[in-house]
């Protein structure tokens, strides 16, 4: 399913952050938006998720199947947002626990366990989030996102709170588990965008606008040592640095 945002505009304290912004998310592709903080990229993502209540943001969202997008987006944030009183399994099952009156079915419980195994935490399904490290917690958040099985996955700087090694590991895992899904990722790390995305857009300027998409070649996750990745990283960093005045 292809998703289009048309004529999006964001105002912050009577100041126009961007206006008349159009964005297309092609089906089955990983799109990343790079940008400095304060250009409204998180607000754009929250608009898609239906949780942008603090921001003065407007825009028309269209799906290629003609139905509304509401309720068909999975959201993954920078913080893992695991509920501290639920076990890992119950955190993964959260969507089921919150929307159905009866308890989760056997299939759902098995799916949750399977997803925890996929992120390497199958043996700790009954542990509490406080017993885990930051990287492990974000893995559980990834499993929770996958459990929802929504047509669009929106990720807001999902790995930026992790250390460099854990970040690379989680990027590999995400690329594997989210292959062929429609993904929108917000990030300020050009390397992360280059490793994972099919399309990279830069949001910059005042008022901000989206650049022409950069389309890195090759299968994801791309290795950090790939010369093309390194060259494009330099290119993106130069582009991003230009806007800092």
């Amino acid at each position: 399913m292809e998703i289009r945002i048309e004529q999006a505009s964001l105002h912050w304290q009577q100041h126009c952050v961007f206006t008349d912004l159009n964005l297309t998310l092609p089906a089955g592709q990983w799109t990343s938006i790079l940008g400095q903080s304060g250009v409204g990229k998180s607000s754009l993502l929250q608009l898609l998720c239906g949780i942008a209540d603090d921001a003065d943001i407007r825009g028309r969202i269209q799906c290629s199947d003609g139905r509304p997008l509401e309720g068909r987006v999975a959201w993954m944030a920078q913080q893992d947002l695991l509920l501290p009183w639920l076990s890992l399994r119950d955190n993964v099952l959260l969507a089921a626990r919150l929307t159905q009156s009866r308890s989760a079915s056997t299939e759902q419980r098995e799916l949750a366990l399977y997803l925890l195994q996929q992120v390497g935490l199958g043996e700790r399904a009954d542990a509490l989030p406080a017993q885990l490290s930051g990287g492990q917690r974000q893995r559980v958040a990834l499993a929770r996102t996958l459990f929802q099985d929504k047509p669009l996955v929106c990720m807001d700087e999902p790995f930026s709170a992790l250390d460099a090694i854990n970040r690379l590991k989680l990027q590999d895992l995400a690329a594997e588990l989210l292959a062929d899904r429609t993904v929108l990722m917000i990030t300020h790390d050009p390397l992360e965008a280059l490793r994972l995305s099919n399309r990279i857009l830069v949001l910059q300027g005042s008022p901000a606008s989206l650049s022409a998409p950069l389309l890195p070649a090759g299968a994801t996750p791309r290795p950090v040592s790939d010369p093309q990745v390194l060259q494009q990283q330099a290119q993106l960093l130069t582009l991003l640095a230009e806007t800092v005045t």
């Binding site: 947002l81 509920l83 959260l94």
Partner: protein, 256 residues
């Protein structure tokens, strides 16, 4: 080892200090009885003390139960209906400006000299702390949790019951602790103002008859009761939030 020994040493030390003051000032036993004399009275009058203690304890527990329930219901209603909050919040704050003790005589007048007026005192005195603690806890749910719940398709009821309520449990626990430590005050003051049973009555009565040793014995029973109550409530509050101790130890351990 030291953990268990310390309270014993502190208690013995205080008793010794007490006995020392009695010796030094040479106070007559109807002004300040020594600890040994109080202990003797405690043993001799044990059935009488227990009879009155039972009534006071029942008043405290009933007040605690009622006050906590009312506080919890009020906090939930205040959070659920914004309109109610705007109307009720000022009333609640103003009601706190009236000292509960000043209401005691009126409560006697309305509810009689029996247990009801004392239960009402204890309920009133803990109602506001519990309401305030629960209300704050319910309001301060991390926005991230609520945003996540919305993207997961949770309706308002599920958000309240499964996200906001458990997230407010630590605050509810501290409200409960405050309630447990002030509820005995409500009950005893109620008994002072007008009663024919209970430890508060026994203390006033003993004092009037110069039985100061009996008064001190009643005071000791009351103190032990209040302590036991506080520790039981503390235990319950911890059981309610089993994840808390572990998360505090993990923050000291550091992430990743």
């Amino acid at each position: 080892m030291m953990r268990w020994l310390r309270p014993v040493i502190i208690t013995l030390g205080l008793m010794l200090l007490w006995q020392l003051i009695v010796w030094l000032t040479d106070a007559p036993h109807f002004i300040l009885p020594g600890p040994l004399r109080v202990l003797e009275t405690l043993i001799a009058q044990f059935p009488l003390l227990m009879k009155h203690a039972g009534i006071t304890l029942a008043e405290i527990l009933l007040g605690l139960l009622l006050g906590t329930l009312l506080g919890l219901i009020s906090a939930l209603s205040l959070v659920t209906w914004g309109g109610l909050r705007r109307w009720l919040m000022p009333v609640l704050v103003v009601s706190q400006a009236i000292p509960v003790f000043a209401l005691a005589p009126v409560l006697m007048l309305w509810l009689g000299y029996g247990m009801a007026s004392k239960v009402a005192m204890a309920t009133l005195i803990i109602y506001f702390p519990v309401t305030a603690a629960c209300f704050d806890g319910l309001r301060q749910t991390p926005t991230g949790y609520l945003q996540l719940a919305r993207t997961l398709g949770a309706n308002r009821r599920a958000q309240l019951l499964q996200i906001r309520l458990p997230a407010a449990l630590p605050a509810f626990g501290s409200g409960l602790r405050v309630a447990a430590s002030v509820a005995p005050i409500g009950a005893v003051v109620g008994e002072w103002v007008g009663s024919s049973t209970g430890l508060g009555y026994l203390m006033l009565n003993a004092n009037a008859r110069m039985q100061v040793d009996l008064m001190f014995a009643a005071l000791m029973v009351l103190a032990v009761m209040a302590l036991a109550l506080y520790f039981s409530v503390n235990l319950i509050a911890r059981r309610l939030t089993p994840w808390l101790q572990e998360s505090t130890s993990s923050t000291t351990r550091g992430d990743s």
